[in-house]
Symmetry: C3
Subunit: 166 residues, 3 copies
Amino acid sequence: MDQAQMEAAQKMMQQHLWALYAFNAGLLVLKMFILAFSTGVVRSMKKVTPNPEDARAMGTQSSSKADPDVERVRRAHLNDLENIPVFLLISFVFIHTQPNLALSHFLFWAFAAARFAHSVVYALYPLPQPTRTILFLIGVVITIYMIFANFVFFMNPLVQPFMMKN
Amino acid sequence: MDQAQMEAAQKMMQQHLWALYAFNAGLLVLKMFILAFSTGVVRSMKKVTPNPEDARAMGTQSSSKADPDVERVRRAHLNDLENIPVFLLISFVFIHTQPNLALSHFLFWAFAAARFAHSVVYALYPLPQPTRTILFLIGVVITIYMIFANFVFFMNPLVQPFMMKN
Amino acid sequence: MDQAQMEAAQKMMQQHLWALYAFNAGLLVLKMFILAFSTGVVRSMKKVTPNPEDARAMGTQSSSKADPDVERVRRAHLNDLENIPVFLLISFVFIHTQPNLALSHFLFWAFAAARFAHSVVYALYPLPQPTRTILFLIGVVITIYMIFANFVFFMNPLVQPFMMKN
């Protein structure tokens, strides 16, 4: 391959990794919106809301009491909030570390699958523990792996300017 | 236009989209900080805090009881947390999909306006429903539109490597 | 320096800023995971959980009652959620504004140090106020500084297309 061909191949690879990122980010955010709407649906069904203006619209009373079904969906959503945005920030750096393509696909799709399954067993169809904890840990381990892959890749660029005094 | 002029025009377009992103991200994060400080202000005014060290500084007692005014500001802030970071992640991908410039301006400023109005009618000056829900939905619909625009743009780069076996 | 050398130097500088970002993002997200696990550990120790399936695994009863120790760690985690992802979004734009290198190092490491100290004095070893508030404000001020630095840098690219009617 000559120079121009190599640059074209590199650019195609980078676009492919961005595409992988775009699809994962989109699906995960859509999933978070589904949980957000589920909270609203469960609130309407059980007629539980902390806001007086919502209570008026539902024809009920507002209440600061927590309903167990509403709280379960909210906890599932909060767990997403704790894990998905930071994954999307870390993995965006990761796709710029010239990662192996097959490994990248594996990590992104495993993360997405684990988070979708986590939402199902948390909010929709509770399974005995440690099912939920294992699914949560899969996401955490993938994020931590990417963090350290980023550290390894960016170690040299970080220390280089300080080593060029000669 | 020759090659160099076209590259310069493309680069200027990309800088313009980054500028649009930078201004929206900055304004939305400033808004989130205002809500964070409002929580603190309402807590001080009503002397309600869950932390004993805060209670000592206020000359009151800590309490696990939720105050309706504090909780209202906190829910407005939490709703921002659920919507703004994911929008900023999705829209960052979106500005790299060569979007129409007028459409991009419309989507970004409509999102910002809806979120600012959402905070006002949630935390500051509650209006009858479905005002708040409509403002929330504007943000969600814009984010979902961008997700699908990203899917369409990155569909080809995602499947390309698997179609080059010949 | 000729053209090629200048481009190489610029590229090295950009890689260095990405490296600074990658290390900060990684360390801050690892810290958030430590708080997430601490919540789980405190829940297990005090046998307090809102989920029946967790209660079964712990051999106890689920409870909607908030335990003060669990809630303290959760509030520390929630404060991270309110501050760290938005910082990582804003600072990612910031490293593309050709910032001074020494200043960038100062801002990133000061933010990380303040957030680590914030978690310690919130969740682990509570100190009298206003210690925690000051640490929180350091993070907020750094983020706001970056927001305005982004505004200044991207002001021209934002208005340029509208000034080229001649």
